[in-house]
Amino acid sequence: MDFSAIGAAASEALTLASFIGIGGGVLLGYIIGVIPGLSRSVAISIAIPMTFYMSPYIAISFLIGLSKGTAAGSAVSAILLNAPGEASSAATALDGYPMAKKGKPKTALQVGLIASVLGDIMATIILIFVAIPFARVALLFGPYEMAAILAFALVFIAGLSSGSLFKGLAAGGLGIFLGTVGLDNQTGLPRLTFGYTELMDGMPLIAVAIGTLALSEMFIQSEKLRLERTTMSVKLEHRPDDHITFPIFKRILPTILRGTGVGTFVGALPGLGPSVGSFMSYGMAQKASKTPENFGKGEPIGIAASESADNAVIPAALIPLFGLGIPGNVSAALLIGAFAIHGITVGPLLLRDSPELLYSIFAGMILASIIMFILGWFGLMVFAQITRVPPHVVIPIVIFFCLAGMMLQGYGTFGLVILMAFALLGYLMKKYDYSFVTFLVAFIITPMLELNLRQSIILSRGNWEILLGRPIALFFIVCTLLALIMLTLRTVRTGKPAAGAATD
């Protein structure tokens, strides 16, 4: 590594302008992340016109700071309002909101922030020192491996649903079904679009996520207002024990490390995305825990698992981007555009042609994490004031931002109708205890799984022996089978009383 370049990079990273640029990016991202309904893609499309007027280094660090900020900010609304702004923060709400309701909102926020920042910094360090030379490893993951990993993720996450297993599976079935809407990626012919041009690229993920996560929650809460107006809001009292302590930190640290590992792995493989990472990490934490029954009731480890993986995905998605020129997920793809507007072609050439810029960006990313920690720590006090606003005031405003966030994406009124349909669906699923997590994950994974499966079948020409030369794929197929067996065992054991209750 070229140390003079690193020195120069560090000095550029520490100018006042870059502090302002990166800090502004993190702050903007954090605020947008906190508002349910406005998502990361809104934040980045807000930012791209602004970066026209910045130097390339500041522009890129600004954008990366922005996506880090939204990832950390969306945890705030997930914890305090149970209305996650992103699909990837849905796992945070599972334990964050119960914990906040138990009277420890500040601890929950602090756990989330520390997990975010640590996951983020560690993944950035992996990106800088380890990953770019090894980015080619991602190429070992061809269609066979991706199909196996996706199948594993689907089965593994389906097993997470806490309520009735069959209800969870039914919700997963619906997610798979809706995930197949859109153009057939081979013939370009529409599938299940019912003649609507707007559905050609599938049900818009943003409408599905905002509808089932944030908007439906507002309808649930407005219904609750009738009977429990005084008891339902999260109370932020000055409880002396409501802050993170060293024992808690020690308990969550192994989870953060594992979450970072999961997030980095998922981020480095092009296409998987942060939601898969955060749910996988949550599930692994639950499986590893000695008291899995505490999950979903306010377990800080659950928050740490989800948030550390969610944030680790963001720097990790840059591994294939800088190493191979392949964007790891949607926000990395947006970054390609931002780079190009500044006259930079991203890819392996960047390290060769302008290492100085690359190191500046890395330095900027570390700086962004530190700024995020400081902003978040003090921001907690400000954002925690949300809890003082009574729910009947929060509800209409959040509903407005959900609708506005959809309009900002350019889907028009049609998008609002879809959003409303998914809000109704989410409301019914929450009310009748159908796992919306299984639904959402199945919806996100299905299109990728189908494409990779199709590619594998065509490439292998139906010859199963090809898998013998693919140890990674074989490994994940075995994992999938194990997960399936465990799921069946659980069905037999716990599913019986529900289905055959008359016999006892």
């Binding site: 039914a170 209409p396 509903i399 809000a423 055959g500």
Partner: protein, 150 residues
């Protein structure tokens, strides 16, 4: 909640049946090149819904029979249903209006109306809470995203 299990299970299984018998044959399309026809994955999903929905419904039915309960209750609480339903109706009507007016102009009235319905009576809260979010949206869309008024 055996009653809701019965009906929600039936609803899921029913949707699966509709999907399998009507949606997929009519709208899934065909692909002569593919080893996996476009209807395959949706059909699997429909079967999952039918089977799991039926199991959930059967579980609910068995428990209803055991407890000697009727599948429908006589005391339907119309007030509770009304409370659950009005926000949906309110937002749906607001969306219908949004086909004619932009959300930025309509937003303040939508928020204010809902605030009043939810029981807020302090005028300064109503004005403040309904004007600030659309103003923020205006600033976001016009000055920051530069997509014009949405």
């Amino acid at each position: 909640m055996p009653r809701s299990d019965l009906w929600s299970g039936l609803a899921v299984a029913g949707f699966g049946l509709v999907a399998l018998l009507w949606m997929i044959p009519n709208y899934a399309g065909s692909n002569p090149f593919a080893q996996m026809p476009p209807g395959l994955v949706p059909s699997i999903a429909a079967w999952i819904m039918i089977i799991c929905g039926a199991i959930v419904a059967a579980g609910g039915m068995i428990r209803l029979l055991r407890d000697g309960m009727l599948p429908v209750t006589r005391e339907i609480s119309w007030i509770a249903i009304g409370w659950a339903a009005w926000p949906f109706l309110y937002v749906s009507v607001a969306i219908w209006f949004m086909t004619f007016f932009k959300i930025t102009w309509l937003g303040a009235f939508v928020i204010a109306g809902m605030l009043v319905l939810l029981g807020e009576r302090r005028w300064y809260m109503i004005v403040g809470c309904s004007v600030v979010p659309p103003a923020l949206l205006y600033f976001l869309s016009v000055y920051m995203m530069r997509v014009g008024v949405v």
